[in-house]
Amino acid sequence: MTVQTERPPSGPSDVRKADGGGTGGPRARAASRAGALAPYLLLLPAAAATVLLLGWPLVKDGLLSFQNLNMAQLIQHVTEWTGFDNYKEVLTGEDFWRVTVRSIIFTAVNVVLTMVVGGLIGLLLARLGRAMRFVLMIGLVLAWAMPVVAATTVYQWLFAQRFGVVNWVLDKLGWHSMADFSWTGSQFSTFFVVTVLIVWMSVPFVAINLYAATTTIPDELYEAAALDGAGMWRSFTSVTLPFLRPFLYATTFLEVIWIFKAFVQVYTFNGGGPDRLTEILPVYAYIEGVGNQHYGMGAAIAVLTILILLGLTAYYLRIVLKQEEDEL
């Protein structure tokens, strides 16, 4: 690519000599100017794609959120500006706030469960013998690889009211009222299944990454801790945990994003039901916007959703900002 201009591909070893000779002059200066441009040229495709394919939809979404846009306007290609009406309607309605609180609790519960279970499995992996570790690893990878649409369908079958394995097991364990239980019938049971599903599919990523991170902890650190008389717990809190901290931050950040946006699991499992009681923000935006054909409203909810997600991840983003600052 353009980096080539930095070093003209002439003879193999005399290039160095030519450079070392320090001819200076316009050629070297032109080369260094090209060198200064190189990073921007390398980043150009990525930046252009981001502006075009992400920035444009974002701006469009912002514009739509100030329009009265329903099916009629959509078909007739009419633009009706309404100022802040959509926002007023969303923010003064009860629904939005209820869904927001629900989304945040949903995300918090799932992320905490995922991180705790995943972290424990990661530490367990480090303690296992080779054969057993391999077995557990296979299990993790299979659960991890299961595509989410297929996984949700499988969970529907596992938790099916008739002939579902879960109800059968609960019945056999003596909980007979569960024999014909409808998991999609109530808000709590729907969230319960979705949570099991999400934790099941998110744990492998956390476990495998934390395990990989523990293998990079130098043994000397543990030896030193042992020499200082640290017990198992102490060496865990003063060696393992600090070492894993950046990994924990990074995986928590990713899990917050992924779980907050768990559209497919919630929407496919029960369509946000029963009675729209399990709608989380992305599902709410979709059902209000596309389902009920209030496209402008949906766009306004989308903008608000983005702001909430930014708020949830602000802490981590600030850390990264500082880290990059220190580096330069």
């Binding site: 080539q4 794609a49 981001t50 993790l140 990878v141 079958w157 394995v165 766009a299």
Partner: protein, 276 residues
């Protein structure tokens, strides 16, 4: 002594329990897919399929447009992953190796882009695609899927590029390679695990995408497998055998890819997010 025996046993017991919990849903999907309907709707579950049948797979693959969905999904996914890898490789090299004004801005920008909640932006994207007269086409799907995986790919690859010692590249250049040659012959092979883990992530993201295709492509000729799977289920309802066969068909490519690549790939997924 007794305690150390206990100490040796419990991790293994826990591991076995976890293994069963992790694998059972996957196992049950395949088991159901191969069982005759009588064994599926029985009062007591048949844990191991004794009569194996391929009937459900026949039902699934003979459903309308099945092979169209398969090829659409493959085209869109592979193109999106390849394009994003190429674009990200160039960008991540700049971010990991070069110092320039605005570097931090780019990194934060990609981190923000990574958070984009595509699920809520479908309306805006629908309008854009409609105004461009590109509804029911694979092109916008490919482009947007590429964009969905690009930020993660670029940030992760940045970590992998940064992990390659600079000296390797320099000594290759001393030996007469141009910078591009040094990149191709020295860095690229070392990036293999990074390329694998990012393409795995990209593959699974694009393969799974549902909300966008749901809104943008209403005609069967341009739809993809996730849509087929969810609509299949509404059509076949309680026919769990066929539904599980369909889910199996959908999951198999990813399962194979993961099991095959896992060792090389899993090590570095957070490398990019942690340090660059």
């Amino acid at each position: 002594m007794k305690r150390s025996l206990f100490g040796r046993v419990w991790p293994n017991v826990t591991a076995v329990v976890l293994f069963i919990g992790l694998v059972f849903p996957v196992y049950w999907m395949f088991a159901t897919a191969f069982k005759p309907t009588g064994d599926i709707i029985s009062e007591n579950p048949v844990w191991f399929p004794t009569d194996v049948t391929f009937e459900h797979f026949k039902t699934a693959t003979e459903a309308d447009h099945f092979w169209t969905y398969v090829s659409n999904s493959l085209i869109v996914t592979v193109c999106a992953v390849v394009f994003s890898l190429i674009i990200a490789l160039a960008g991540s090299f700049a971010l990991a190796r070069m110092r320039f004004k605005g570097r931090r801005g780019f990194i934060v920008g990609f981190m923000l882009a990574q958070m984009a909640p595509w699920e809520v932006m479908v309306i805006a994207i629908y309008m854009i695609v409609r105004d461009a007269s590109m509804l029911n086409s694979l092109v916008p799907l490919t482009l947007f899927y590429m964009m969905m995986i690009l930020p993660f790919t670029i940030l992760t690859l940045r970590g992998f590029v940064a992990a390659v010692p600079k000296e390797l590249e320099e000594s290759a250049m001393v030996d007469g390679c141009t910078r591009v040659q040094a990149f191709r012959r020295v860095i690229l092979p070392l990036l293999a695990p990074g390329l694998m883990s990012t393409s795995m992530f990209g593959f699974i993201t694009a393969w799974n995408e549902l909300p966008l295709v749901l809104v943008v492509n209403k005609e069967a000729e341009s739809q993809t497998l996730p849509l087929w799977l969810t609509s299949f289920q509404t059509v076949f309802g309680d026919n769990w055998g066929a539904t599980m066969a369909a889910s199996s068909l959908f999951a198999i490519p990813i399962l194979i890819l993961f099991v095959y690549l896992q060792r090389k790939a899993v090590s570095g997924l957070t490398a990019g997010a942690v340090k660059g």
